[in-house]
Amino acid sequence: MSMTADYLELSDVRVEFDGFRAVDGVSMTVLQGDLRFLIGPNGAGKTTLVDAITGLAKATGSIRFGRSDLLGRPVHRIARLGIGRTFQTASVFEELSVLQNLDIAAGAHRGPLTLLRARTAVPATVEEALETVGLAAHRERKAGELSHGQKQWLEIGMLLVQNARVLALDEPVAGMSADERQATGELLHAVGADRTVIVVEHDMDFMRAFADSVTVLHAGRVLAEGGVTDVQADPRVQEVYLGTSGSRGEVA
C-alpha cells in the first residue's frame, strides 16, 4: 500500500461503558488537508470518539493512522505517533511560562541528556508557533495568567510544536467572542492544510465558515456525512440536532 498523504481511518469503532455503548460502530476516514467537523447532539459520543483515537478510552474495531494501528497503545505512545488533541476545558501548565509550555510540547522525543541540560536557545519550531498563535508578546508570562481564549490558542500552539499530524480539537471556540472565533478558524485553516484535523463543535456558524466536510454522530453512530450544506439540509440532522433555528448569524 502506498500513499501520498496521511489519513486517519476508523472502522467499526465501539466504546462501551458498563454495557452502555457510547460509540457504536463508527467508521470514517479523514484525509490530510480536510478540515473535518464532528457534530451531533449532546451525548452523541463525539468526545468519546476523540478519547478512543487518543487512547484515553478503551475501544474495539480499528483506528489506523498511516501504517500504525492506534488501538491498544498507551496514551503517550499514540501521542508520539503524531496524534495530538486539545480538551474542552483548556489545560495548559499554569505554573510554567508560555515558552516553557511550548518547549515541553516540542520535546517528547528528546533524549535524557538533552532533557537534563537547560534550554540555551528557543527551538525554531517554538519560535514559529509563538508567531502563528499570536502569543509572541506573552512568551514569558505564566500560562496561568492568560485569558481563556489565549490558553486555547496556546494549546493549539502546543499541538503545532508537538508536530502532531492529526489534530483533534474538542470545542476549541467554546466561550470565545465572535472575532476570536474568526481568528481561531483562520488559524485552523492555515495549520490544517498539511495535517489531518478533526474539530468537535456546536457552533454552526463557525462550522459553516470553516468546515471542509462534516460527520454527524448520533447515539454513537454516524448519522450523516458530507459537505456542510448537504448535512445541514438533512432532515434527520435537523431533527436530532439543529432544531429549527440553526444559525445565530454572527460570524459573517
Binding site: 449532546n42 451525548g43 468526545t47 492568560l146 485569558s147 467554546a174 466561550g175 470565545m176 472575532d179 432544531g243
Partner: protein
Amino acid sequence: MLELVDVHVGYGRATVVHGASVSVPDGGVAAVLGHNGAGKTTLLRAAVGLLTPTSGRILLDGVDITRLRTNKRVHRGLAYVPQGQQGFPQLTAAENLQVVADAHPAARIDDVLDLFPALRQVLARKAGLLSGGQRQQLAIARALLTGPRVLILDEPTEGIQPSVVAEIEQTITSLTEAGSLSVLLVEQHVGFALAAAQRYYVLASGRVTSTGEGGTEAHDTVRAAMAI
C-alpha cells in the same frame, strides 16, 4: 432587583474588576458582554458571593448583601449557573438534583426535567460521566430548581447542541416575560444576549466601557465597543 455598585474584586492581590456597576431590572435581563479575560466571570462570582469585593456593594431588593454568605443569598432568591459545565461528579445526575431539592423544600424536580427531557435518560449516571452538554443542561436544571428570582448565567449555552440552545433561550425569555424572574446573563453570542436583554454592559479589562438599552438594534454599537 439585583444591583452591583462600583464593585472592585479580584484574586489575592490582583484586582481583576475595577469598579463595575451593573443593575438587573425587575423581571428583566441584563447582559454582560466582553472578551475573554475581561472579568465577566469574576464579576458574577462576586455577585453570588464566591468572591468578596475589596470595595463596592451588592444589593438585592435594595438590601446590602455584600457580606452575606453564598448559600444565604441563594435562599434569598439568587441562583447561579457557573461557567464550564460544573457539577458534583461523583453524584448521579438524579442526586445532583436531589441535593438541591433537599435544601429547597419547594423544589419540584419533575418540572425542571420537563425542560430538559434528555436528562431523564441519564439520571442514574454519575454526573462526571455525562457528556459536556448533558452536564451543562444539568447545571441549568440545578439552578432553576432553587426557585430563583434572580438567575445568574455564565455562558449558559456553551457546549450545548443548537436545538437545545434554542429551547434554553426560549425558556429564559418566557420566564422573564412572565415577570417571575430576572436574569443576569453573560454570553458570547451577542445576538441572543441583546435580543433578550433590556440593558447591556460591555466589560473590558475589568471596567464597564459601554452600556445601553438592549434589543437587536444595539448590535452594531456593541460590536464596535467590543472591537476595542
